[in-house]
Symmetry: C2
Subunit: 557 residues, 2 copies
Amino acid sequence: MSDIEIAQANERTEMLPITKVAETIGLTPDDLELYGKAKAKLSYPTLKRLAEKKPGKLVLVTSINPTPAGEGKSTVTIGLGDALNLRHQNAVIALREPSLGPVMGMKGGATGGGYSQVVPMEDINLHFTGDMHALTTAVDTLAALIDNHLQQGNALNIDPRRITWNRVLDINDRSLRHTVIGVGGATSGVPRENSFDITVASELMAVLCLSKNMHELKARISNIVIGFTYDRKPVTVADLEVTGAIAMLLKDALKPNLVQTLAHTPTLIHGGPFANIAHGCNSVLATQTALALGNIALTEAGFGADLGAEKFMDIKTPVLGKTPDAVVIVATVRALKYNGGQPLKELTTENLDALKNGFKNLKKHIENMQRYGRPVLVAINQFVSDTQAELDALIKACADLGVQAFASDVWGQGGKGALPLADALVAALDQPGEFKPLYDVNKPVKDKILTIVQKIYGGADVVYDHKAELALKTIAQNGWDHLPICMAKTQYSLSDDPKALGAPTGFTMHVRDIQPKLGAGFLVVLTGSVLTMPGLPKRPAAMNMDVSDDGVISGLF
Amino acid sequence: MSDIEIAQANERTEMLPITKVAETIGLTPDDLELYGKAKAKLSYPTLKRLAEKKPGKLVLVTSINPTPAGEGKSTVTIGLGDALNLRHQNAVIALREPSLGPVMGMKGGATGGGYSQVVPMEDINLHFTGDMHALTTAVDTLAALIDNHLQQGNALNIDPRRITWNRVLDINDRSLRHTVIGVGGATSGVPRENSFDITVASELMAVLCLSKNMHELKARISNIVIGFTYDRKPVTVADLEVTGAIAMLLKDALKPNLVQTLAHTPTLIHGGPFANIAHGCNSVLATQTALALGNIALTEAGFGADLGAEKFMDIKTPVLGKTPDAVVIVATVRALKYNGGQPLKELTTENLDALKNGFKNLKKHIENMQRYGRPVLVAINQFVSDTQAELDALIKACADLGVQAFASDVWGQGGKGALPLADALVAALDQPGEFKPLYDVNKPVKDKILTIVQKIYGGADVVYDHKAELALKTIAQNGWDHLPICMAKTQYSLSDDPKALGAPTGFTMHVRDIQPKLGAGFLVVLTGSVLTMPGLPKRPAAMNMDVSDDGVISGLF
């Protein structure tokens, strides 16, 4: 059965009213704003009350670098949550909201798979509770207000060539990457170049995800720099006097969404910034709420541990005010063999040499995560083609590093497939050891970047393009150097070369540009070419989709 | 108090759970999909069941041509609904969904005013249940799929210069009226000109509003012509093989939304196509549902009776399968005096001459509506500055035409302000008289246009630009001439000159172009310059808006 068929069969027969799921974590119907029978947002008074509660234990789920072989980080997070609740641990999951754009392009959901899924999966993968649409509207309304300001006399003296605020759509649309707008004469705007990004790549998504309440959201929005004047002064949303309007459009999007796994584990799905151009974690508010509602909060970060987890540790946790108690790294035998040089089409064949060779990638991520001072475990997301010899070799290689690894069949068995991992995790949460951040944010920008490149990526040095050096000057002049670093890098390699698999060393990172994001409160360091608007493939997944006369969706995944 | 203050005070103290409102018209919680406590969508099985029910009586509310003085058609519709229910008539209201774009520009809601409002007004005027966002996503996803088709080899041989499918945003953004997309090199699309419209101006909005179920929606979507090949053959959504994907994105948007007036009258708010470029009525499904749930269904059509009501009669009712039992025309003393030449700033001063002179506009709309064969009443939406002499003169002028007119203070008194109007309306519903359509759709296109121009607008003749003549050839070649006519004309005048107030006669209409809309199933006849993407004013309303730390909105209206 496909993921959507498993989900639909279970949704029909097994899904609980979301009010019942909420009841299991002490929430009443008054705490909820329902969206249909299976989705709800948490109200402002409820969020305020929960913010005061003593937090549970925090577990971060991350992974090796993504490969075409598939890793299944969300699937493991969901299965592990279900396993913890089979052990009566009162686990609550916090995940990112999927972007709709990629859904139309390539088959593959963002709500787990097999018997480890969050439901209702069709809703979550499509419009859900409208958060993405609210963000799209807010980003594009701000853009319209900026262009209207130019049109109506430009009192702020904004340089149209130096506007850094892009428009967005939650759609994979390569033809909007580079556009010319405002043509067609004097009544149709000021002509200028303009780019559309995918919604999740906008700074406003990062802003939403780093705000613990409306007060903080407004403060961050007001600080957003949308461009520069002709005399190179930054122009903020506050200067445009539209902070309130933009925040108003996000009034409901700020509230985390409650859904359930197929096994009824309460799951907060909220916020999903890109893990390359932004910090790649679900909202601070969702994680904080999961910590308040559960004894254990399980959350994940995007892409591999070099991108998502590093940013989780160094960008998200200072805002959250809570550091992880343990880290789980997801790996697959298939992906490690791919890292070890075995071609994609041969991954179902046993190959212990390729596995051993590709293990370097997992080893580097284990060492990186251990650096933060808390216990690290490995979840081997099991595939039917994995041989016992391969699983044994991988578990032994981890053990040699002092790390417990567990083959977990969460796709086929749900929580039951991850019970040994769950038990080991519970034991690890109480181990002694202090969390240590990677760098001191008050160090110079180049020092912070070098620390990440050398300690996390395994590189030797960093070189800066002229554009990046100019950006560093602007950053220094405006006193923005104390901000944490958000690396924009390929997710496919620890280096900035997407083809360098395994654990490359000795390389020099190439910084093209540095974009200050004053609302999000970090400096985006662009290395290599980072795409902020994906395209569609030759035969888009949209061509397989349908909806019956009764409203039943097919071909989604 | 402002509209938002009245609404908020009542929402806090008076608003019923929507389940309770639903109960008054025989719906159970199982019929509803809740969006918070005060909004709900009706489920597919419920809609299917209601489609079989015997319909109640249908009342169309329309108005004179809009002026800057304000008419208040929605306010009257809402107040009249409340008045009918004070008389225990079991009235259900069906209204259009407001567009978000204009909200950021000019003060003024689309949910009535004073004590005749639908609530929760902030939600309805902002993201509501996400219908507009779903439409935006569907329109732009189709556009991305078209541009991706060009990029990936253009197997259908589409001429990029002849793509007629525009992108949309639900934002007033003049700088997107004319754009160049697909620049930036070989991997970023095929360069071409492209326009963005406001979402409500898209054909897909009209398609949604004319579909009674998912089956019809899919059929209409598949018929949409998105452009032409290099050899001038039409290209449809069916040719692109993405009908299912686009329909899937509208699965929930197709379901009508239930809310309530301040007096708890059940109100369906669903769909809102532009009344110039499209047919300007709420969805057929909402009206059909209101007819099934109420003894009387009250609905409105956009702009003046020359645009909205004519299209209601000749485009919507054939699809609905039910013609109106009575028509109410909304007028104000202020607007008629403005039509009669009194300047905007002097409208609070009594001026019986200006009123008499401006009455010509109302008189023409009365005669137009009477042509359809059913009783016509006039609702005078009362303002505090109206003098008794003015009201008496207006009522007498209507009586001279055999039409009852009633001064109605729905803003200040709600339903209580419209009781005499409600009583007269109830009596009118049972008057004898057959509905007569304006034209036979099987007549030639030019004949149908001339009929509308001569009989409704009061014009003498029609001239066609070269582009319009070419379009007529394409229409004839493809056999599209049997479709009804959707005039795109300025709303400010009965003619195509926005400055010609009152009731101009003898003029020649100028047709620039004719756009076949095969999904909506009508031919859009463009006269004058019709703006499909509004702009923002020098000081946008957005600058007055705010949201408190507790999520309370201010400055919206």
